[in-house]
């Protein structure tokens, strides 16, 4: 059995009237990539903030490798590597100088530090630009360096808060590969994202969060099974809301996830067979269909099924 690295139990964080995280619980083990998937404002960053010790939980308990992050903050932080959502680097220092500084902050010393800096520079593909000031780097290069600073000290637990936001495809592929490599080396990775494809491609287990709550959790297979064999049908056009809904509800085993004047999201089994009936019903209701998209069961369709809205909203 792999070691339990992160334990989050009934975590709650409020700012006055606003509850950013509301009773979140999950665990993550060594060598595992655990994803927190949710739209912007769902409470992912707040959860990461509570685990990393940046924020004090209003209630609940968070442990990192058995250390309570509130009572044993320093011991817990010593096990952590954090890659924040913003690029937290000194623009006027070089990549090597940044790494040396952040390595020092984690208690690393030369010559091990120098050796490790060289390693992570090579891993992140920045060895040729190591002496240049960071302000001359592209966004993708800064992201890779931001990541390198987080893994420099061989953390046992790696917290990644949307590390690929605004990154070019090439850098994204490289970053995801680096994350996998960390997990293979035994690091427990907590990865937050609002990109479903990323979560599907990367995470061993996932928790889908919305409005500060975990609305579903499990492996990718477990989450998909929650949808059954149902497809997601996305129709765009012009739909009289009441008439369209009434017409569609007459069709067997169709579930209306979202219905407004320009968009219909439907969950249905054997969608290809039922498509003519759907079009006929909509035509009878005076609707005009201009676009149709079929989606196999996915995290997105699960999210829509659970929340009634698309993840990107």
């Amino acid at each position: 059995m792999k070691r339990l690295m992160i334990e989050v139990e009934q975590l709650r964080k409020s700012y006055g009237e606003l509850t950013a995280v509301d009773g979140v619980s999950f665990t993550a083990r060594s060598g595992e990539i655990f994803g927190l998937l949710g739209p912007n404002g769902a409470g992912k960053t707040t959860t990461i903030g509570c685990i990393s010790g940046l924020l004090t939980p209003s209630s609940g308990r968070v442990k990192v490798m058995g250390h309570d992050v509130v009572r044993e903050g320093s011991a817990a932080r010593a096990k952590l590597g954090v890659v924040p959502q913003e690029i937290a680097l000194y623009d006027d220092l070089s990549a090597r100088e940044n790494l040396a500084y952040w390595g020092g902050a984690q208690g690393m010393r030369n010559p091990k530090l120098k050796e490790r800096i060289q390693q992570v520079l090579e891993l992140s593909g920045l060895q040729d630009r190591a002496k240049e000031p960071v302000k001359q780097f592209s966004g993708g290069m800064k992201r890779r360096l931001n990541f390198a600073c987080g893994i420099l000290h061989f953390p046992s637990v790696l917290l990644l808060d949307e590390p690929t936001v605004g990154v070019d495809p090439q850098s994204r592929v490289r970053l995801l590969e680096l994350v996998r490599a960390e997990a293979r080396a035994g690091t427990c990775v907590l990865y937050t994202t609002h990109y479903m494809e990323e979560a599907e491609a990367l995470c061993d287990r996932l928790a889908i969060v919305d409005h500060g709550k975990v609305i579903a959790a499990g492996t990718l297979a477990e989450l998909r099974s929650m949808l059954g064999e149902r497809d997601l049908l996305r129709l765009t056009g012009s739909f009289p809301p009441f008439a369209s809904r009434t017409a569609l509800e007459k069709i067997d085993s169709i579930e209306i996830l979202q219905a407004d004047e320009s968009l219909l999201l439907l969950s249905l089994a054997a969608a290809s067979q039922k498509l003519p009936a759907v079009f006929a019903a909509l035509a009878g209701a005076g609707a005009e269909v201009r676009g149709t998209t079929f989606t196999q069961p996915s995290l997105e369709s699960l999210f829509i099924k659970l929340t009634g809205k698309e993840l990107r909203e």
Partner: protein, 406 residues
């Protein structure tokens, strides 16, 4: 505090400052430009304007020499160089604009004066100059007025002296008694000891301090304020870059970060202070009683300003507000606290208030250190004040950073 990380922070901040020489140059450049302009306006290192007075003494008597030597006494001699010349040569040189004024003392001047007859002096002024010829005219006018009253009040003894080729001892004694009584009669209007005291003090300052010397301490302190302010505002850069947040997730304290920033600033301040004190000592020729002590005082003052300013800046709601608030604090402090206009140039009431500001107090102690008149007790009080207030400000800042900036 983690000493290794402290050193790492110092190195990081020094490297960042080295990469941004323009920032430091701006902080130091503004005071430098201001003081240079002010110094130039006031005539450079020479505190007072200097002119040339030509004296054509055709009388060649004791009285004519006494009159012309009036311009050779301080403080007038600082402004006027007296040169004896023949009348014709003097007039020619005045025509060519070679001097500020020409004083012609005609033949028979002393005799006429002693005989209580009308005596005439001629002053030719250079129309191209305004201040110096007027000063000479005013001085001469005072001398003539003095002569008039001497003539009126001491006419009898003067005539007694003038009437004989070789006055007897008895005559000299009578004249001396008469002059003594004359002096006593004027005592209620004049207080020679007070006048002497004032003249001596003014003379000392003029001798040792040019305009640059008066402005240099102000300039140095303005530089310290600006450098400290720039370093204090840099904490908001760290906040906006997210480096403070990242550091808060590492097993080190924010106190170490602030300590490192303070030490790195002290290194920069040391360079600024040393250059400033050296400038005073070797450029402005101001005797500095103790270069090391004066330098140390400047460094401590700058560190104190930093702690004060960084505390204020972390209480601002955001970076833009921090800039505005710092400007609202630093400019009145500089203007009132002798770090822009020296106290010597301020009205007394303003200087009295200014000396109670933190920088005003530090400037005053610095000047005392430079002059070698600082009291150990005052310095000890200063050190205690720095330690207590500095520690309090340090802790307040760290606490605020932890709660609001990460």
């Amino acid at each position: 505090m983690n000493a290794r990380f402290l050193w790492s922070t110092v190195r990081k901040d020094l490297t960042r400052m080295r990469r941004d020489p323009l920032g430091l140059a701006t902080s130091l450049g503004i005071p430098l430009v201001l003081v240079t302009l002010v110094t130039l306006v006031f005539g450079g290192q020479q505190a007072v304007p200097q002119g040339r007075l030509l004296v054509a003494d055709e009388d060649q008597t004791i009285l004519s020499q006494v009159l012309s030597s009036a311009f050779n006494r301080e403080p007038l001699s600082k402004m006027v160089v007296t040169e004896t010349t023949a009348k014709a040569d003097g007039l020619r040189r005045m025509d060519s604009g070679d001097a500020s004024a020409l004083l012609i003392i005609p033949r028979g001047f002393q005799t006429a004066f002693l005989q209580n007859q009308a005596a005439r002096l001629e002053l030719v002024k250079n129309p191209a100059q305004s201040i110096l010829p007027n000063i000479i005219e005013e001085t001469l006018s005072i001398a003539v007025d003095g002569g008039f009253y001497l003539q009126r009040e001491a006419a009898v003894p003067l005539r007694t002296l003038a009437g004989r080729q070789q006055p007897s001892d008895q005559t000299i004694a009578q004249v001396s008694v008469a002059f003594n009584q004359f002096g006593r009669s004027l005592a209620k209007y004049l207080n020679p000891s007070l006048i002497d005291l004032e003249m001596n003090v003014t003379g000392e300052q003029s001798q040792n301090q040019g305009v640059a010397a008066i402005f240099l301490p102000a300039m140095i302190f303005m530089g310290l304020l600006f450098v400290s302010n720039s370093h204090a505002l840099d904490i908001w850069k760290e906040q906006s870059w997210g480096t403070l947040r990242r550091l808060a997730t590492a097993p080190v304290s924010l106190a170490t970060l602030l300590g490192g920033r303070l030490i790195s600033l002290a290194v920069i301040l040391f360079g600024v202070a040393l250059a400033g004190v050296a400038g005073m000592r070797w450029f402005a020729q101001v005797p500095v009683a103790s270069v090391p002590l004066a330098t140390l005082w400047l460094v401590l003052s700058g560190m104190g300003f930093y702690l004060l300013l960084v505390t204020i800046t972390v209480y601002a709601p955001n970076q833009r507000s921090a800039n505005v608030i710092e400007n609202l604090v630093i400019f009145p402090l500089a203007l009132l606290g002798g770090s822009f206009f020296p106290f010597e140039m301020m009205p007394d009431w303003m200087a009295s208030i200014g000396r109670f500001t933190p920088n005003g107090w530090a400037v005053t102690q610095f000047k005392a250190l430079v002059a070698g008149s600082a009291h150990a007790k005052d310095l000890a009080i200063g050190a205690v004040y720095f330690a207590v207030a500095g520690s309090a400000l340090f802790l307040i800042t760290v606490n605020r950073m932890r709660r609001k900036l990460i």
